[in-house]
Structures are given as structure tokens and as C-alpha cells.
């Protein structure tokens, strides 16, 4: 009879300020594998956790450039190479007329890059995640703020971390099972 493996310890807070303060202290105490869960985006938290992910804007830029090249290439190849038609004596390569499809493809590709990039980098869709094993976690999408120190953290020790989290003044500290 093996006990379920532990994913980490979760502390529940009542307001954003407590969570941000707790996160700062946990980082100061040397914990690195931790995450916070909030019902709305909290900029101060991203700072406290030192999240600096610049990949998404780069992806979107790449998507936009790719889309623009694709849009223009499509117009050019169609109108000049594959199916040259003389329409009212206009040149086959009518650059001004190609602006609109090029622009629309730029936006379309960049938007897909933004959405798929955001989901992909976030690892969504994710049907299962250990944090949901905590019944109280349903309130993370309502009115509560959670800090989770993960078991893979080198500094993690069940009793010691538990005591540390309790010191931060949470409502409850809970085990999160894998």
C-alpha cells in the first residue's frame, strides 16, 4: 500500500497582498520551484516570481513576418507565374493591389501565433494537473490566492516547508498529491 506521491505543498491566502508578500519570502528563503495561482492576472506576482518569458512576442513577430511573406508570395505567384491574366492592362505584378491580402495574412498568421503560442507555452490544453487534487483549489478561479511549493524543489522537505508556509500567515496549508 503505497501512499500517493506528493506534488507539493499548497498555502491558501485571502488577498493578493498576502500572496505577493508570501511569494517574495519563499523566493528569499531559496525556494525555486514554486508557482502561484490567482483568479485574475497580477503583475506584482510575475515580478515576485521573476517570470521573464520573452518567447511569445518573438513567436508572434515570426508569425507576422511569415504571414506577410506568404500573402505576398501567394499574390505574386498566382498573378505572375501560375495564372497571368491581363485585367484592364494592369501589370501582372500589381504591388499596390497585393497589399490587402498581404496585410490580412500578416494579421492572421500573427494572431494564430499569439493564441497557439500562448496555449503551447502554457502547456494547454492539459486535462490533468495535480493542483486540482486539492478540493479547495476550485476557489482559485473565484476568490482565493494559492502558493504552491513543489516537491521537486531541492530545498523541499515536507515538515520544514510546511512550517515555513504556516509562518507566512495563510488560511490553510495543504498537501497536493500527485
Amino acid at each position: 500500500m503505497s501512499a500517493p506521491r506528493l506534488y507539493g505543498l499548497m498555502a491558501e491566502f485571502e488577498n493578493p497582498s498576502d500572496l505577493v508578500a508570501a511569494t517574495r519570502q519563499a523566493r528569499a528563503a531559496g525556494y525555486v520551484h514554486l508557482d502561484a495561482y490567482t483568479p485574475y492576472p497580477l503583475e506584482a506576482l510575475a515580478e515576485a516570481l521573476d517570470i521573464h518569458d520573452r518567447r511569445l512576442p518573438a513567436l508572434v513577430l515570426g508569425g507576422g513576418i511569415l504571414g506577410g511573406l506568404f500573402g505576398y508570395a501567394l499574390c505574386y505567384w498566382t498573378s505572375v507565374i501560375a495564372y497571368p491574366l491581363n485585367i484592364g492592362g494592369k501589370p501582372f505584378h500589381s504591388a499596390p493591389a497585393f497589399i490587402v491580402p498581404t496585410f490580412e495574412m500578416t494579421i492572421l498568421f500573427a494572431a494564430f501565433a499569439a493564441v497557439l503560442g500562448m496555449l503551447g507555452l502554457n502547456g494547454l490544453p492539459m486535462p490533468y494537473h495535480p493542483v486540482f487534487n486539492t478540493p479547495r483549489f476550485a476557489m482559485a478561479s473565484r476568490d482565493r490566492f494559492f502558493l504552491c511549493i513543489e516537491a521537486r524543489d531541492p530545498k523541499f522537505d515536507h515538515d520544514e516547508t510546511w512550517a515555513f508556509l504556516t509562518k507566512l500567515g495563510p488560511r490553510v496549508v495543504m498537501d497536493v498529491e500527485e
Binding site: S17, A36, Y40, L49, F98, V100, L124, A140
Partner: protein, 465 residues
Amino acid sequence: MTDGTTRETASGRVGPPSGTILAPGYTFTTITDKLASIALSRRTPKAWFFGAAVGFVLTMTLLAAITWLLFRGIGIWGVNQPVGWGFEIVNFVWWIGIGHAGTLISAILLLLRQPWRNSINRFAEAMTIFAVACAAIYPTFHTGRPWLDYWLIPYPNTMGMWPNFRSPLIWDVFAVSTYATVSLLFWFVGMIPDLATLRDRAQKMWAKVVYGMLAMGWRGSARHWQRYETASLLLAGLATPLVVSVHTVVSFDFAAGIVPGWHATIFPPYFVAGAIYAGFAMVLTLAIPLRKMYSLGDFITAKHLDNMAKILLATGLIVGYGYVVEAFMAFYSGNPFERYMIWNRIGGPYRHMYWALLFCNLLTPQLLWFRRARRSTATLFVVAMIVNVGMWLERYVIVVVSLSRDFVPSSWGLYRATIFDWATFIGSIGLFLALMFLFLRLLPMISIFEMRQILPEAKVAEEEA
């Protein structure tokens, strides 16, 4: 984080305490429960059944009209020579225009850090998507053989044929389909955190499963939120030029032609302003009954209605400027055909339309200079309705009146809508209503997580370590 100030601080900078855009006394808990219960509760307001029934019946009318169209061809409509574009193009432009306000609210006001948009952006975006869906019906069936519409899309085919990229009509295909896709993405991404809330709050098994699948396992992690916020801002930045481009391209359908009344350089900006004008009128038309039906006065406050009325007035003035420039250029150009076009509008067979248009779009919104008119929901609703009609008339005047009398009097002719034109038009309003009411019942119509952001308790108390 370096990409700008937070939305929380932005709401502080914009000035008025959030009390004016949100009734005081709400907490994370109460705001979540109240907004989530609209989609989750068993109790549905009686007005919902009424609205949904009207929408359903009219949608059936649309289906009947389109079925008959597929049997008989577009000859059942009033279009003929010389007026080959009738109600269908009028309605197409009208619906697409209505969609623009949704994107303006969700994207442009997000970039401008206007927190008051948080309570109206979701249903305005839904309005955009449904309006674009209604708009798409018209060109689709106007082609006459809608089963061959995929020929509009460039794809390698055995006929060896490709679309002509020098035609504004193919630009329209690209602009409208991109707009529909990006709006849908933006709308869905905006809903993910709220779908997670519904997943966590749902009692019934099927609701948990369906909302759970749609929420894709969203758990509100700080790392996720950071990318989510970046993605939202980038999408807003992409949607802003997009929304301006869409009605610009729609106006090219006309402006690139040589028909007097179409061939004008003022068209792109004038169409974009008209689109926003029409769209805000429709947002008000929806918001005023909605806040009554679901008693949402705490979230969609007098301040919101006031702001929207001001935008309505401002864009209405731009549209009015467009009318003046159109008339001025007709005379200033010295072109007899252009000049006749204006005389024809003022005194020709369709003069009632033109004068009604001026009354609806130019005169009526002047009421909104008065605070009392902006604060009275009844007045606002009536003004918005009149503007809805006015914007439809504007497109009618541009499309039909211009075509009916062009250069050679021997080729003049009048257009008369048939019962099928009317059935398709009213039916599309029904489809719009039906989709809107389904959305209200099943999805969070006010962005819950963005409402939490404007609560006073959402701010982090700064105690610098």
C-alpha cells in the same frame, strides 16, 4: 515586467473611483457568484424565452427564404439591371459595420487602458462574431451558386484557375474571413479563465465536462497569466489595425468602381467611422435591455451608457462630416455626373430615403449633447434604434440610389425589394438574436476575471521590502 503599467494601476490613473463603473460593495466572491450564476443557474428570466422565441421564429424565416432561393435562384430578389446590388449588399455592409464596435471595445479600449470596457467587452465581442456571421450569409448566397463559393479561396485545382488579386472583391474575402477568425480567437481566448470559473462552479456533471473541456485545464498559474496577458495585448494590437482595415476594404468594393456616388476618396475613413457609429448604436440597443433583464445595473452603470453615448455622438459627427464632404466634392469636382448624383439623392425617386437618413444619422444624435439625454436609458435606446435604422438607410442610399441612375439615362432603372429580400433581412436579424440569446444563456456574458480586476481589493498593497 516591462511591457507597460498594469491594468490595476491604469484603472487608478483614468481617474474616477471604480465606484462609477462598478457599484460599491462587491467582493471577489460576490462578483464571481453573481456573474457565473447567469450562465449556471436553472432560473432563466422570462424575457429570455420571449427574445429567444422571436429569434428562433425569424431564423426559420431566414431558412425558408434561403431554401426558396436555392430552388429558384437570385431572381426571387429585386436585383436586376441596372441595380445589381440591392438589399443583400446593403445588409452585408450594415452587419459588418455593426461588428466593428465589438472589436473597438475589446481591442482599442484595452490598448487605451480604459477599465470601463471590462463589463461590456464580452458581449460586444459576441455581437461582433454574430454580426459577421449574419453578414457572411449575403455574399455567400449572392454569388448565385453558393455551392461553388470555395472557388473564391486560392487553392490548387484541376481547372488550373486562381482568383484575381487585383479585384477588391477578393480583398473582401481575405479581409472578412481574417476578421471573423481573429475575432473568434480573441473572444475565445478572453473567455478561457471564465470558462475555468464556470467549470469550478458548475454543479451538473455535463456542465463540468463541457466547460472543463473548453477551459482546457486553465488553472490560473502566475506563469500562465503572464503569457496570457502578453497574448491579449498582442492580439489587441493586431486587431486594432485589422478592424480599421476591414471596413476600409469593404469601402474599396465601392470606391474602386467608377459609379457616381461610389468613386470617392473619403470612403475608407467615412466607412470606418460609420461602422463604429453603427456598432455602438447596436451595443447600446443590446446593453440597455440586457442590464434590465438580468438586473446588471451594478456592472453596466450610467457611466458606461454615458461613455458609449459620447462615442456615438463623436462618430456620428464624423459620419456627418462625411456626408458634407461627399456633397461638397460632388459640386467642387465640376463633374456633372457627380453633381447629378447629389441632386438625385436630394430630389430623386429615393429622396425619402436620403432625408430620413439625414434625420436619423445627423439630427437625432445631436440630442446626445445633453447630459439628461445621455443619462436617460429610454432616450438612449430610442436614439440608438434610430441610428441603427439610419445606418441601414445610409448603405441603401450608397448602394441602390447610386446604381439606379448612373451615366446614361437610357440605362436608368428603379429597384424594388421583394418579399424575399425582406424575409432574408429580417431573418438575419432573427439569426443574430437567436445566437445572442444562446450566448447569454450558456456563456459568461460579462468578463468575470476582468471585473475582479477593477475591484478595489484587487490592488496589491505595496510594502517595499
